[in-house]
Symmetry: C2
C-alpha cells in the first residue's frame, strides 16, 4: 500500500479504485463499517453455512477453502451466494494458485468447484513467474474478478521474503492502491503449533498498513455448533479492527 492510501478512508479509496472487485470490497467495508474477513475452514457443509450465516453481519469478506468440504456439491455454492446477498459480503476463495498459466486457467475455471464463477477474489503465489497472472487473468478479467498476489506469508521460516518479496511486487505501479489483506490475526493465541503466528488487529492495521484483517480459528473456535459465541467473537474482532482503522486514518 502507498503512504497515500494508509491515511485515506476506505470510501475515498473505493471511488478511485480501478479494479471492480477491490472497489466493491472497499465500498462494502465503508457501508458496513467492518474490515473483518472471516476464514471458515470446516469440512462439513452444514457447519460451513451455519457459521457463515452467524458471522455474516460482521464481515466484509468470507474466506473459503472450498476444496476441504467433504460433502461439497454445487448447490452449496448457491447457498453461499444467497448468504452473501443476505448479509452483504464478498467471497474470497483462498486457493493459493501456484502452477503454470495453462494449468491455473483450468483450475480456476473448471473442475467441480468452478471457483471463478462465484469467488469475487482469489489469490496466487507469484513463484511460477508472470505466466500465472496471465493464466488467471484470461479467466478472471472478463468476470471482473480480483486477484491477490502473496508477496509475504505469516508462517515461520517462509521463503517469501527479501528478493522474493521485492520481485513479487516489482513491475506493479508504485502509485497504485493495493489492498492489503493479512491472515494470522488473533487476539489471544500466539500460534497454532503448525507454524502459524498470530498478531493483533492493532498491530497489523496500524503498524503494517493492513486493510482487511483475516481471522479464522480465533472466531469459529473449537465448538462449531455454538454459533452465538462465534457471532459474538466476530463482532469483537470487527470492533477491534474498525477501531484500529479509525485510529489510523485520524492519526
Amino acid at each position: 500500500m502507498t503512504s497515500n492510501a494508509y491515511k485515506q478512508s476506505y470510501g475515498e479509496r473505493a471511488k478511485r479504485h480501478s479494479n471492480p472487485a477491490a472497489k466493491q470490497l472497499l465500498e462494502t467495508m465503508e457501508r458496513k463499517k467492518t474490515n473483518l474477513c472471516v476464514s471458515v475452514d470446516t469440512v462439513m457443509a452444514s457447519d460451513f453455512l451455519a457459521i457463515i450465516d452467524a458471522i455474516g453481519p460482521y464481515t466484509c469478506l468470507v474466506k473459503t477453502h472450498i476444496d476441504i468440504l467433504e460433502d461439497f456439491e454445487y448447490s452449496i455454492i448457491e447457498r453461499l451466494e444467497a448468504l452473501a446477498k443476505k448479509h452483504d459480503f464478498l467471497i474470497f476463495e483462498d486457493r493459493k494458485f501456484a502452477d503454470i498459466g495453462n494449468t491455473v486457467a483450468l483450475q480456476y475455471s473448471a473442475g467441480v468447484h468452478k471457483i471463478a464463477k462465484w469467488s469475487h477474489i482469489t489469490n496466487a503465489h507469484p513463484v511460477p513467474g508472470p505466466s500465472i497472472v496471465r493464466g488467471l487473468a484470461s479467466v478472471g478479467l472478463p468476470l471482473q474478478r480480483g486477484l491477490l498476489l502473496l508477496a509475504e506469508m505469516s508462517t515461520a521460516g517462509t521463503l517469501a521474503k527479501d528478493t522474493y518479496t521485492e520481485e513479487a511486487v516489482a513491475g506493479q505501479g508504485s502509485d497504485e492502491d493495493f489492498l492489503i489483506l493479512t491472515p494470522g490475526v488473533g487476539l489471544e493465541e500466539k500460534g497454532d503449533g503448525m507454524g502459524q503466528q498470530y498478531r493483533t488487529p492493532h498491530e497489523v492495521v496500524l503498524d503494517s498498513g493492513c486493510d482487511v484483517i483475516i481471522v479464522g480459528r480465533g472466531i469459529y473456535g473449537k465448538n462449531l455448533a455454538d454459533v452465538d459465541a462465534i457471532a459474538a467473537r466476530a463482532e469483537r474482532y470487527m470492533t477491534e479492527g474498525w477501531a484500529a482503522y479509525l485510529k489510523r486514518i485520524s492519526s
Copy 2:
C-alpha cells in the same frame, strides 16, 4: 540428486531408498524400463480414463490435476486405481500445495478429492516454510506417501531460483538420494505461449540429472479421441527417455 545417484541404475537405487513411494517408483521404472511420467490434463473423465488406458503401458507414473475434472465423482478414482493396477504405474497428483500446515493437512486428506487416499506422490511449494512439510507429513507418512518439493520451476521469470532454491534444499541430507522429476519436456515444441518452456529428454536426463521426464501436451496433443496416436507418442517418449538414461549410467 547426488553425483552418486547420477550414475546408478534405478534398480540399485530402489534397493537403498528409504522412502516407500520413491522405492516403489524406482522399482517400477526398472521393471517396465521407462522413466516417462505422462501428465493428463483433460477436463472430462471419459478422455482422462481413455488416455490413461492408452499410455499406461509406457509410463511409470501418471500425473493428474484431479481438480480440473468437470464431472469428477469418487468412482473415477476407483477406475484410475484399476488402470494403475492393470498397467503397473503409480499416481502423482500434481497439487502444488502452498498453504500453511493446518490448511494443507485438510486439503490433502479431506474434501471431495481425498488426494492422500489414492495419490502415491504429491508435491508442494516450500514457500510457506517448514510447516507445510509437517502438515502434509501428518497425513501422508502413515500412508507411506511421497512428497516432492518444488525447488525450481520450468516457467519463464520464476521466482524459484537463487537463494529460494538454496533454502528449499537446505537442511536435506546431502548424501540423500533425491528423485528428480522434470516437467516441461517436449521433442518439438519450444513453448506454449503461456510461459511454459520445453527441453528434450536428452537435455534433462543427461545435462540436468533428471530421473523422471514429465510429458503432457506433447503426448496427448489436441485430438484427445485419437488414442492410437497418443499411445504411439507415449512409446516414442518412453524410448527417448530410456535411451538418455542408459547413456547416462554407462557414460
